[in-house]
């Protein structure tokens, strides 16, 4: 009796172990012959993946001797960069990866990215000069190396819920565009008034949470505020411009124009209809339907004028990926003018030749031609990216900790002084 029981247990155990062996055995990677390319990306959107797969499969069909397969793997870590760097540090290096602009210099500096300049230049019909200089700049070094293609060059814009503003008896904001009154001050006043009349959220930066503090500091460029000096060596959080900007932001929070933040809980989404204004990228328009009237406007002006901002994601070839040449060749194919136009339906292209209403209407079919002209085509050529820094990840958490007291109504001057004290040694390197 006992014996049979223990035998049964042994059988069960063996079965379980066998199950485990079969389930967790990792696939091995063949080194010789055509390469199996892997591309890590942020998006897990099925349509994005399907389109990329289509381009990839077509490429594989034409280049069977070089590339056996191309897989697109979303990195699902909410902190994309932490996920990607952990993956790279773990030796599981993708051949291509989508790199957000803020981390670009860090990756270039660490020697992680492969210089694809000559491959792109040499590719048939590629026309590297077609790429907007402002878009390519973050990925170039002084020696002329090109470390990524600015795959998605998506401007930040102001989404406006017109129904909500009307209900709150507020003026038509779209009519202000192009006039001197189209400023953050006006927008904030309307946001505050809408909030107090309707309880709806006034002005929202949906990607903002304390860890992603740069989503807020980037808007400071309209105040002339930058977090650090151009060369990255000096902390500029204590600059009068930044203090002005943060003080303004804090005041908007305290009067309800901008929602207060709570830990990691996010405020209402613009798509819910309970938000008057939202600073977000082009792709957000995909989540909106016609349940309320909305418009898509360029970012307003601050005390230092208009400062359009783009959010970028570069696609790079990784130095340690093992199939650099094949990967670079595929990158050149993926981002050539023909495919860039195809990808434009999801990823705003950095190419001058594609910066027209016809191409961009595909990217955002819900936008009017006027909106595309004023909020994209007119702003993208001179737009800048978020401030970058080669050791950003080493001090980002310290800035996060310091800014928390600004978000909760603490003294701005004390907070920024603390931040500079903490990060200056790292910036000086």
């Amino acid at each position: 009796m006992r014996a049979t029981r223990s035998r049964r247990a042994a059988i069960a155990l063996t079965g379980v172990l066998a199950l485990c062996l079969s389930a967790c055995g990792g696939g091995d990677t063949g080194e010789s012959g055509p390469a199996d390319l892997k591309m890590a990306l942020w998006s897990s959107n099925k349509d994005h993946l399907a389109l990329l797969k289509k381009v990839g499969d077509a490429y594989v069909a034409e280049h069977r001797d070089e590339v056996a397969s191309i897989t697109f793997e979303p990195v699902t870590n909410p902190d994309y960069i932490a996920g990607l760097t952990t993956q790279i540090a773990g030796g599981d290096v993708p051949d291509l990866a989508w790199i957000p602009e803020a981390s670009g210099p860090e990756f270039v500096d660490a020697g992680v990215l492969h210089d694809v300049g000559s491959t792109l230049k040499g590719a048939d019909g590629y026309d590297l000069d077609d790429i907007l200089p402002a878009a390519l700049a973050p990925w170039q070094d002084e020696k002329g190396g090109v470390y990524a293609y600015p795959f998605s060059n998506s401007p930040f814009a102001l989404y406006v819920n017109e129904d909500l503003l009307k209900a709150a008896g507020q003026p038509d904001v779209a009519a202000l565009v192009g006039t001197p009154d189209y400023t953050w001050k006006t927008i904030a006043d309307i946001a505050a008034a809408t909030n107090s009349k309707t309880k709806a959220v006034g002005l929202n930066v949906p990607t903002f949470n304390p860890t992603n503090w740069s989503a807020v500091t980037m808007l400071g460029s309209a105040w002339g505020a930058a977090p650090w000096s151009e060369d990255g060596s000096t902390c500029a959080f204590t600059s009068p411009e930044m203090i002005d900007y943060l003080t303004w932001y804090q005041k908007q929070m305290s009067r309800g124009a901008i929602p207060a933040i709570s830990g990691k809980a996010e405020p209402a989404a613009f798509a819910s209809g309970d938000v008057a204004f939202s600073v977000a990228q082009l792709s957000q328009s995909g989540s909106l339907d016609s349940s309320f009237t909305w418009s898509f406007l360029p970012l307003p002006a601050g005390p230092k004028g208009y400062h359009p901002i783009v959010g970028q994601a570069g696609v790079s070839v990784l130095e340690r990926g093992g199939h650099k040449e094949q990967a670079a060749a595929f990158l050149a194919h993926l981002t050539n003018p023909t495919n860039a136009e195809l990808l434009a339906q999801f990823f705003p292209p950095p190419r001058k030749s594609l910066l027209n209403v016809k191409t961009l209407s595909q990217a955002a079919p819900k936008l009017s031609p006027e909106a595309i002209q004023s909020a994209i085509i007119d702003v993208v050529p001179e737009a800048s990216v978020k401030p970058q820094h080669p050791v950003l990840s080493q001090f980002s958490d310290k800035v996060r900790a310091g800014l928390d007291s600004v978000w909760s109504g603490g003294d701005v001057k004390a907070a920024v002084t603390g931040i500079c004290e903490q990060i200056s040694p790292t910036l000086k390197g």
Partner: protein, 309 residues
Amino acid sequence: MTAHTSAANDRRVVPKPRPRPDRGRWLGVAFVAPQVLGVIILGVVPFLFVIWYSFNEWRPLTGEREFTGLDNYSRLFADPTFSASVVASLLFSVGVLVLNLVIAISLAVLLNRRMRGITAFRTIFFSPVVVSVVAWSVTWGFLLAPDGGINGALQLLGIDGTSWLADSSTALLSLVVVQVFKGVGMNMVLFLAALQSVPEEIREAAQLDGASPWRSFWSITVPMIAPTILLTGILTTIGSLEVFAPVQLLTDGGPGNATNVLPFFLYRTAFVSQQFGYASAIGVVLFAIILALTMLQWTTRRKWVHDEV
């Protein structure tokens, strides 16, 4: 349970001759080998590596590693984030320890009686133990939000709530509460078992002597469950110093560094800031703190625990 006890008693009644030293010693070695080797390979050796790493600067992204001696430690002790992190860890740990033991013992005392429905209450108090820490934390995140359930309930009472997780004076306390309600059921059950082994006669005798329930609790019950207090105290302390998921899911260490407890600071330093050497130094200090607090509880046990564990 009773079968065991009576058998154990019999053993004392009928003394047996000492068995010859048996050849089972190799069996003993074989039996402990998997776990002992496992603990050595997966615990002791990695920890020695951590000590070694803590003397290096190491950026995993590039793979460059360089011996820098005590640099990481001098940097660490000058780093205000680190001191804030130690404070957060200690406050969290003390908060969890005190609140957990007080609630666990109170609930155990309340439940240690025959009454209709007592099992149902025991089940309720224990249920968060089987809920996954991620589900539990995520749910509390909603409840603690400024427009979440807790402020909603407070509003009904006419109290204006705060943004619990974003307010530096309440964030750590909120995490303590989340952690305590998650795990206190386990300790409650252990205390309940301990209380049930306190002979009824002793307490009744004390009551006949006119001792108040409060007094008899302190003079009779507490000493009898002292070994359990010690053991659950140590395990709860270790567990609270290892807290990670609620912090990552609820506060990201903020606001400021109010909830930036050591394991979370270590994780961010290693896997987000990509500084393996510096993170290793944090790990060594974290271990030292756990060791010190455990030793503190263990060495003072003679003062208040009469029974050996």
